[in-house]
């Protein structure tokens, strides 16, 4: 789960990482009230889960409460890289004398966390990374040892930070490591890490990704977004509530399969089939996982069929542990549960592997008018794509 900047800063503050004073607001009036409370010049910052907000005009100075209200009205509802700013962070403005960069992230290749520090932080960090990678100092962190004061100071000095801020930066690096470990984060990034005129080091921005697998040992529920009731987010939220792994895409062929890799592959095969027949594309990713019980199949079909864009459905199951006849029984009783109203589009089913023949026989015997049974993945994708385009 990615956090909003204001949530990241909440975690930072809990671990003693210095951040500007501020609060989140969802209306211009609220922004004005926060600015009035702060009694300092402020910046109004769009809360969207992406970088480059400054460059998109989503970070605006507001010297007082009146301008905070005006700027918040401008930023609220703003679209940044396809995301809408529903809230703004109103925080104390500081004059950054220097802007550094600090991050911890998972290095998949090394199977470990790495720390990255640079003296050249700020809004152009991507360009620095691309053109002068040497300006970024990277080091693996031994998970058994962590980031202690000494290694942190060494890192700050290797990154070429001035001697008089190295201790303060090292202290922040140690605290950010605690954020990473104690909150089970996969990414902790501060850009910029600013030096103020009075010599303090402050996290002016924060990006944190928490590991959903570790949710059981944290009270991070408060960070979860209230799921939208409508549209793509509504479908995704409903699927999640039923324990299904669903991602809405923008095509017309609903896809249901078992296993993440096979479903990803099915999306590709549908898209290829669509290229040669009518341009149909996959409408979603839906992995029902190992066991395909009648209830799971009914939930999956119900979610996919309630997507108004879907014109045909492809069920692609490879029976490994799960026997295909059990899956077929699941489909038949799912169709029964959903009834005539629930099932109005053709459903192409491909069963292969363990007990595939028996599974196909079950579907044939049931004789549902909208169900078509096809032997191979390629042929099934072709049929589903052409039915969706018809």
């Amino acid at each position: 789960m990615d956090l909003f900047e204001y949530q990241a800063k909440e975690l930072f503050a809990r671990h003693g990482v210095p951040v500007p004073r501020g609060r989140v607001a969802s209306t211009p009036e609220e922004a004005r009230a926060v600015a009035a409370e702060l009694r300092t010049p402020t910046v109004i910052k769009a809360q969207v889960k992406t970088g480059g907000r400054g460059k998109a005009g989503g970070v605006r100075p507001a010297p007082g409460p009146a301008s905070a209200e005006v700027e918040a009205a401008r930023v609220l509802g703003m679209d940044i890289k396809g995301l809408t700013a529903l809230t703004v962070l109103v925080e104390q403005a500081t004059v950054p004398l220097e802007e550094y960069y600090a991050a911890y992230l998972v290095d998949r290749a090394g199977g470990a966390f790495i720390a990255i520090v640079s003296a050249e932080g700020g809004m152009d960090i991507e360009e620095v990374a691309a053109t002068r990678p040497d300006a970024l100092v990277t080091t693996p962190v031994d998970p058994a040892v962590g980031m202690d004061g000494r290694s942190a100071r060494l890192l700050a000095s290797r990154a070429g930070l001035p001697a008089d801020v190295q201790d303060a930066v090292a202290d922040v690096l140690v605290r950010l490591w605690r954020v990473l470990v104690e909150e089970d984060a996969l990414l902790v990034e501060v850009n910029p890490l600013a030096v103020t005129p009075d010599g303090r080091v402050l996290a002016l921005d924060g990006k944190v990704t928490l590991d959903d697998n570790a949710a059981f040992r944290h009270g991070h529920d408060a960070f979860a977004e209230v799921p939208a009731a409508h549209g793509a987010a509504g479908l995704e939220a409903r699927a999640k509530a039923r324990g299904l792994n669903y991602v809405k895409l923008d095509g017309e062929v609903g896809v249901i399969g078992n296993g993440a890799g096979l479903v990803m592959s099915t999306l590709d095969v549908v898209a290829y089939a669509g290229q040669s027949s009518g341009g149909a594309r996959p409408a979603n990713f839906l992995d029902i996982g190992g066991g395909a019980s009648a209830q799971v199949m009914a939930d999956a079909l119900e979610i996919v069929l309630s997507d108004p864009d879907v014109r045909a459905v492809l069920v692609n199951v490879f029976g490994g542990i799960t026997a295909c006849d059990a899956v077929a029984h699941g489909i038949v009783s799912a169709l029964g549960m959903l009834g005539e109203h629930g099932v109005r589009h053709p459903i192409v089913v491909r069963l292969d592997g363990n007990s595939a023949e028996a599974g196909r026989a079950v579907l044939h015997a049931a004789g549902h008018p909208l169900v078509r049974v096809v032997a191979t993945m390629d042929a099934a994708a072709e049929l589903a794509a052409s039915l969706a385009a018809a």
């Binding site: 998972v106 998949r108 290749a109 199977g111 470990a112 966390f113 031994d142 998970p143 058994a144 470990v181 089970d184 996969l186 590991d211 959903d212 697998n213 570790a214 059981f216 040992r217 792994n245 991602v247 895409l249 399969g257 078992n258 296993g259 993440a260 890799g261 096979l262 479903v263 990803m264 592959s265 999306l267 590709d268 095969v269 549908v270 898209a271 290829y272 594309r281 996959p282 990713f285 992995d287 490879f318 490994g320 542990i321 292969d352 592997g353 363990n354 191979t376 993945m377 390629d378």
Partner: protein, 299 residues
């Protein structure tokens, strides 16, 4: 021949007394695996019946290995206890620890992978993986044994069901070993580790590598193949149509910016002479063609 697991491997199952553990222990036994013990803390001294065989349960991996000589452990332990279970296996000195559990916190994986590396004795496969199978010999994990046969292809994949799909499509040619390395961002055994082992295995003639979007493991594998692999390799990459920034089922399967795309992976592999199939069935056809049209051809 095979890699990592043969008919002589003595296997113990951590979490054998749980429902999943028991179910899959029975299946592994049916696949020919020499399972010698189960381990569940606090349940030492019991035994579990599997038809004509009763397997002893030990309270710790150290006791189990001392009593049975097991050198492979398969872990079916819930996510919150997985790190402890794996570290116990590492400390007991097992040579191979196969972590089937899905949903293990990444911090925990990083810790036990680091511990295994430092041990110098334990290879970890997984977590969040189907395990591995050397058909006709042994199975450590949940890969179905009856969808394929023993043969001369080595297979390595992040995805379970795609592994099954390819094993099934190429069932007439057969496999030396199929390894599911798991779809998490941090895993113990990589594509490269498996490629290295297949290259060295006299029983493996050709290799199928299955990748998916996210990270740069396939690109690194391509570089490795160019340098070190002389056996023919055919690859498949899933996720050409995946949108940026969305996690596609596997926590590791996410495209960020232009990094991690299926297209980039395909190009990197083709550049070093690996033939990449557009679909699983095309991948199987490429492998057949490569092996000189043996088998039935074009399933």
């Amino acid at each position: 021949m095979a890699i990592f697991l043969t008919k002589d491997s003595k296997v113990l199952v951590q979490g054998m007394t749980g429902a999943e553990g028991a179910r899959h222990t029975a299946r592994m036994l049916a696949a020919g695996t020499e399972i010698v013990a189960g381990v569940t803390p606090g349940k030492g001294g019991r035994s579990v019946d599997f038809g004509e065989r009763a397997l002893p349960v030990f309270g710790s991996v150290a006791e189990a290995t001392a009593a049975t000589g097991a050198e492979v452990s398969v872990v079916f332990v819930p996510p919150r206890f997985t790190r402890d279970a794996v570290e116990e296996a590492v400390d007991a000195g097992v040579a191979l620890c196969v972590v089937i559990t899905e949903g293990v916190p990444v911090h925990d994986t990083i810790r036990f992978v680091a511990r295994a590396r430092a041990s110098g004795t334990t290879r970890i496969i997984g977590p969040n993986c189907p395990g591995l199978i050397s058909p006709g010999q042994s199975s450590a994990g949940i890969i179905p044994a009856d969808i394929t046969t023993a043969g001369r292809i080595g297979l390595v994949s992040k995805s379970g069901t795609l592994t099954y799909q390819l094993m099934y499509e190429l069932r007439d040619v057969g496999f030396s070993t199929a390894v599911g390395i798991g779809g998490d961002p941090v895993i113990g055994t990589t594509h490269i580790d498996a490629l290295e082992a297949f290259q060295a295995d006299p029983g493996t003639e050709a290799i199928v590598m299955i990748g998916e979007i996210g990270g740069d493991a396939e690109e690194r594998a391509a570089a490795y193949i160019e340098e070190h692999v002389t056996k023919p390799v055919v690859a498949y990459v899933a996720g050409f149509t995946a949108p940026e920034g969305k996690t596609m089922g596997h926590a590791g399967a996410i495209v960020s910016g232009s990094a991690g795309t299926a297209q980039a992976k395909k190009e990197a592999l083709e550049k070093v002479g690996v033939r990449v199939g557009k679909t699983p069935s095309e991948t199987a056809r490429l492998m057949r063609a490569l092996l000189g049209g043996s088998g039935r051809g074009g399933v």
